[in-house]
Symmetry: C2
Subunit: 368 residues, 2 copies
């Protein structure tokens, strides 16, 4: 048992221990060795980077989808169409955790040959955190781009209907001696995991995150469960919610209409207790993944030196009195990862309970 410190219903475990548990789960469910490895690497990266909602806490969700035959543990991932700089990948209903990495590898290979590679993915599933997949490009001196659609929770400006997912965009850009620039953002004021945190802690949600079923501002942490919707980034028209709506729409179209996946209100949900919407317009959920070779534009060293300069200039920007210093996108997640690699990853007792049940069901060793 990897117990290190106990705080607020959380116990810390070593990353390797959790990763091994995830891998064992996928293997037991029938995944190949290499797929199980890819899946565990993607999930643990979320826990390491502090995105607790997208890591091992979701493991039993993938297994439930598999049991419902809504996720294929032995996908034959294949290229449906390609040109020198593009491809569409059919994920064969595999876990997005795995499919997205295959897609990024293909994008990287295309970028090696013709400068950039762009892969639209259909027939996939939830892929964890977008930033993980984008960052795979960094070690090749490439910029990585990753987006995905997701089941509809967000209402367009002036609407009371949920039409878009929280559709994240991630971009990873290498620097020289500074750490890379890594943005990974939902196209909403807050990801929906934050509403669940408010629910668990019995707190109201901040005004400007969500609306009720009639489209009125809501601070009820259960508003989504009562037919409400999340708001796009910008919150309201005067503060640019139509721009957040544009961003979410863009991610939806690139991820699903380019690839042939489901889009808008037709995107199937991740949670197994909700059925996929009837009359699908495509296959599974969609991603859009790109890799750009830096030296397809200018020498990588020049670029990375200027990235260092950019990063340092922004770090030196004067902060507002009473606020922390300006951060570079990715700073926070990187610092959390360093700390968690050293001291372990805190897992909530409810997640542990869920994982213990999962282990019993699959007859594998528990995490604890």
């Amino acid at each position: 048992m990897q117990y290190i410190i106990k705080e607020k219903n959380k116990v810390k475990y070593r990353a390797e221990k959790i990763e091994a548990f995830i891998k064992a789960t996928f293997l037991t469910a029938g995944a190949t060795e290499s797929h199980a490895k890819l899946a565990s690497k993607a999930l643990i990266s979320a826990d390491l980077r502090g995105v607790d909602s997208h890591g091992v806490a979701r493991l039993s969700g993938y297994i439930r989808l598999w049991q419902q035959q809504r996720l294929n543990m032995t996908p034959q991932i294949r290229i449906a169409h390609e040109t020198p700089s593009t491809a569409v990948i059919d994920g064969d209903l595999g876990a997005g955790l795995i499919v997205a990495q295959e897609a990024m590898n293909l994008a990287i290979n295309k970028a090696k040959r013709v400068g950039t590679g762009w892969v639209a993915v259909k027939n996939s599933n939830h892929f964890g955190i977008a930033g993980f997949h984008a960052m795979l490009a960094l070690e090749h001196d490439m910029i990585g781009i990753c987006m995905t659609n997701a089941s509809a929770l967000v209402a367009p400006t002036f609407s009371k209907d949920r039409m878009l997912g929280t559709n994240p965009i991630a971009i990873a850009i290498p620097a020289q001696t500074e750490p890379p620039f890594v943005m990974d953002m939902a196209t909403t004021p807050a990801a929906n995991g934050k509403l669940e945190v408010c629910e668990r802690e019995n707190k109201v949600i901040p005004e400007g995150w969500a609306q009720d079923k009639d489209g009125q501002t809501s601070i009820d942490n259960l508003t989504l469960k009562k037919g409400g919707a999340m708001l796009p980034l910008g919150t309201d028209r005067i503060h640019g919610s139509h721009k957040g709506y544009c961003l979410g729409a863009w991610v939806d179209i690139f991820s699903a209409i380019l690839s042939g996946a489901n889009y808008g209100p037709w995107v199937p949900p991740f949670v197994s207790f909700l059925s996929p919407p009837p009359n699908p317009v495509g296959e599974g959920i969609g991603h859009f993944i790109g890799a750009m070779r830096i030296d397809a534009f200018r020498p990588a060293d020049d670029f990375k030196q200027h990235m260092d300069n950019w990063i340092r200039a922004f770090r030196k920007a004067r902060n507002i009195s009473g606020h922390p210093p300006v951060q570079i996108p990715g700073d926070q997640e990187r610092l959390i990862a360093l700390e968690r690699l050293k001291n372990g990853i805190p897992i909530h007792s409810k997640v542990i309970e869920d994982l213990d049940q999962l282990a019993a069901k699959l007859n594998i060793d528990t995490l604890t």
Copy 2:
């Protein structure tokens, strides 16, 4: 004289008349016939689409920059580096209005050959509205993407320093029988032209658009002139301003660090009464332009039929009581353009006065 109707210090002129005046101005300043045509086409598109701040109202600004030798009327636009799917273009300090179109043409040609084309531009200048350049890809059954950096007006989350421009992103996506999806958005709650409108009308600005020199919320329409800054999309940390900051940073890095232009606080201003920042880190301002051939992913007809379906589904989303129906990005600008093509473009009397002075200075026929 193309007088049609007079309202609130505005007189309407036919688009062709204004376009001819812009072209004559560029020709008289020494531009080639083809460059003058490109410049006038780009500027008039802003007036037609209702983005009055970016159209003919800026014409005398380009001329002032030229007179200061900060804009080259006879640029030798050249490819500095290229691969099959990428290029860097050196704009030779030409008007961005022209340089960006050359860049998009190159991107389109690359997309024809290898599926996508991505062109980073350095040593350029203000390019008008991003949406115009992105839309050039549509007639080729391609998706057009266009972004640019701009002189620093926006403070990153928690900072009181202006570090980024309002850095717009435009994406144009073709549909079948529906009009195209065209998003064109500053990465701030409002473009800075809107602050100037509030100033002209002697109104306070909405809370959440800008801050004062100490980083405190400001509703003063002169706050930018008093050392304040615009806020990123999302307005404050709790509503996701760090995401607006990420978006603006992304545009800055793609536009300028990939190409070798100035970035962040080093971007030279458009207005001639402000000098470029000392110690430039690159050449001119930067753009990033892309074209993606639809059938590099799937047959264009399939894609466009699904775009029609997407657009219709969103149009049918129920609107909130008391609010207008849900719009598709580009709807508003398209409707304004249809109306203005028919009835003329309203030009403010102050702009007319400015254009009359310009005509006198260049010894060409006045617009009026």
